[in-house]
């Protein structure tokens, strides 16, 4: 705190139009787990693309179309390097994490799973890693199993060997960092056991790829989904990374233009990877924007981004305990990403968020697309503050002051 002026998040903020805007009261944006703000560099990349390089990709033979194609494929290369993947052929652009997971459920799931197979998920999954599997399970007679969550907000890994023992599990789907509890799950260990049991592993990395260095090959995943708008990029662009052998075996997800090599009236031949999975005109400018976001994050250094998150979450958890009647969900600061969800005695999270909003503090209130987890924790909803590279301690101070105000307003 003594070296506040050298706090890098201060100069980072100046590169975000959202934070340059004067507001009364000042904005404390503590909902980056829902969507991040965007730096000039990303907004400028979108503007430049539309101003100077806009055309459809992989089609035209003219200069502009070639430029657009090059920018789009260059973005894929940047993402490939960012997650340390082996090849850009393993990096499929989608709309978001949800679409990436649905792609796996529809394409891989429908071609591989049979009645009697099982899918193993966890009780802390976001709806995006639950609902696609529920649909598939109902359609194919596939059983859904769940790794339980302990009262401390960790996955109960002692249950894992038993859940995998009968060899029926063909896919383990697990969130890397919980969007509610902040828990960082031990993917490597889960993947090791899953692979031994003959299952593939899908990781929902929506909250991890934006916040920490990703070495996807070391993670042990076979599929990994993440989204651009939570990592300083535009909405409408996300990524499915998958092992090439799997992608090659999988049938297309959506049919249409671009994903084909040859089309006759009655049948078609599929395009090569990754384009086999990119039907129709993709979100070209958004992909370019995501490429710029990746550059920006690499400029900051992902290790620095992660340690900044951890410092903030530690500070926030320390300050939150000052608020009477407040209960923090999930594990200690050292075991989590930049997310803190909490409840306050006698005050509904919706009311907390409403009173905070009046004081310029933006947090999330509700079930954060994880209703089963809230049910397990025995609460209808929670309030959540989440942080990113541009978050400063003053915003957390503003949150704490707001919570005291909330309490005094609702006190008997």
């Amino acid at each position: 705190m003594a070296t506040r002026s050298s706090d890098p998040s201060r100069s980072i903020r100046e590169q975000f139009p959202m934070f340059r805007e004067e507001r009364t009261p000042p904005l404390a944006y503590l909902d980056s787990a829902a969507s991040s703000q965007k730096p000039d560099m990303v907004i400028e990349a979108l503007r430049r693309h539309y101003s100077y390089h806009n055309a459809n990709i992989h089609r035209g033979v003219y200069q502009l179309a070639e430029e657009a194609t090059a920018s789009y494929e260059d973005a894929r290369l940047r993402v490939t390097r960012f997650i340390n993947a082996a090849s850009p052929r393993e990096v499929v652009f989608t709309r978001n994490s949800t679409e990436a997971i649905n792609l796996v459920a529809y394409s891989w799931g429908r071609s591989v799973l049979k009645a009697g197979d099982a899918i193993l998920l966890t009780e802390m999954e976001h709806h995006s890693n639950l609902v696609p599997w529920q649909i598939l399970a109902a359609e194919r007679g596939v059983e859904l199993r769940f790794i339980p969550v302990t009262p401390e907000g960790r996955l109960d890994l002692e249950a894992l060997p038993r859940l995998l023992a009968d060899g029926k599990v063909k896919l383990v789907g697990v969130v890397h960092i919980s969007n509610v509890l902040g828990t960082i799950n031990p993917i490597e260990e889960i993947a090791r056991q899953a692979h031994t049991a003959g299952s593939v592993v899908l990781v929902d990395a929506s909250q991890s790829v934006p916040h920490r260095r990703m070495e996807v090959l070391r993670l042990g995943a076979d599929f990994m989904a993440f989204t651009g708008h939570k990592m300083l990029g535009p909405t409408g662009i996300g990524v499915l990374w998958a092992r090439r052998t799997l992608l090659e075996q999988m049938p297309p997800f959506l049919g249409g233009g671009e994903m084909i090599r040859e089309v006759s009236l009655r049948s078609s031949k599929w395009n090569e990877l990754p384009w086999k999975f990119e039907a129709g005109t993709m979100a070209i400018a958004e992909a370019v924007g995501l490429g710029a976001a990746v550059d920006y994050l690499q400029g900051l250094g992902m290790d620095a981004v992660f340690s900044h998150d951890q410092e903030l979450v530690e500070y926030a958890m320390e300050r939150l305990t000052e608020v009477p009647g407040l209960k923090i969900l999930g594990p200690p600061a050292k075991e989590r990403g930049g997310v803190v969800a909490f409840t306050m005695e006698g005050i509904h999270p919706h009311d907390i968020a409403t009173v905070l909003d009046r004081q310029g503090v933006a947090i999330r209130a509700g079930h954060h697309c994880a209703m089963p987890l809230h049910e397990k924790l025995g609460i209808p909803a929670s309030a959540r503050a989440s942080f990113y590279c541009y978050t400063v301690r003053e915003e957390i101070d503003q949150l704490i002051a707001g919570l005291h105000k909330t309490r005094s307003l609702f006190k008997q």
Partner: protein, 136 residues
């Protein structure tokens, strides 16, 4: 406190802290539960009817101050009322009771009690405000 009155006037906080007609009924003639999936608000309403009149009404559930206070006000209002009159209560009546400006999200909170009442009384799902004209 005037700045905050717009957000939660004293009457709302009072109904939230000391809800009227709170609890459940042992032998309700009508019992209905509804929820607002967005924020996890949940309300159950038990109604006892005698000679076409709401002899007693109780609500229970969890939710934000707006949903709980609006339901408390509504229950206080309909106790002793004829079922026919209760059916005529519309969103404007509830918003008048609540008496503060509400954005679209909090509007749903405020109307959850009415939605529960209507669904219970009619035995069907209807959104308050959409049933206008369907009452004839």
């Amino acid at each position: 406190m005037s700045e905050w009155d717009e957000l939660y006037r004293e009457a709302i906080l009072d109904h939230y802290r000391n809800p009227r007609q709170h609890g459940t009924l042992e032998h309700p003639d009508i019992s209905y539960e509804d929820a607002n999936p967005l924020c996890g608000d949940r309300i159950r309403m038990d109604i006892q009817v005698r000679d076409g009149k709401i002899e007693d009404v109780r609500f229970s559930g969890v939710g934000c101050a707006i949903s709980q206070a609006a339901t408390s006000m509504l229950c206080e209002h309909i106790k002793g009322m004829s079922l026919e009159d209760a059916k005529k209560i519309g969103r404007e009546d509830v918003l008048e009771m609540v008496g503060i400006p509400l954005g679209p999200v909090r509007l749903k909170c405020a109307l959850l009690g009415l939605k529960t009442l209507k669904a219970g009384v009619y035995g069907i799902h209807q959104w308050p405000g959409e049933e206008d004209g369907g009452e004839t």
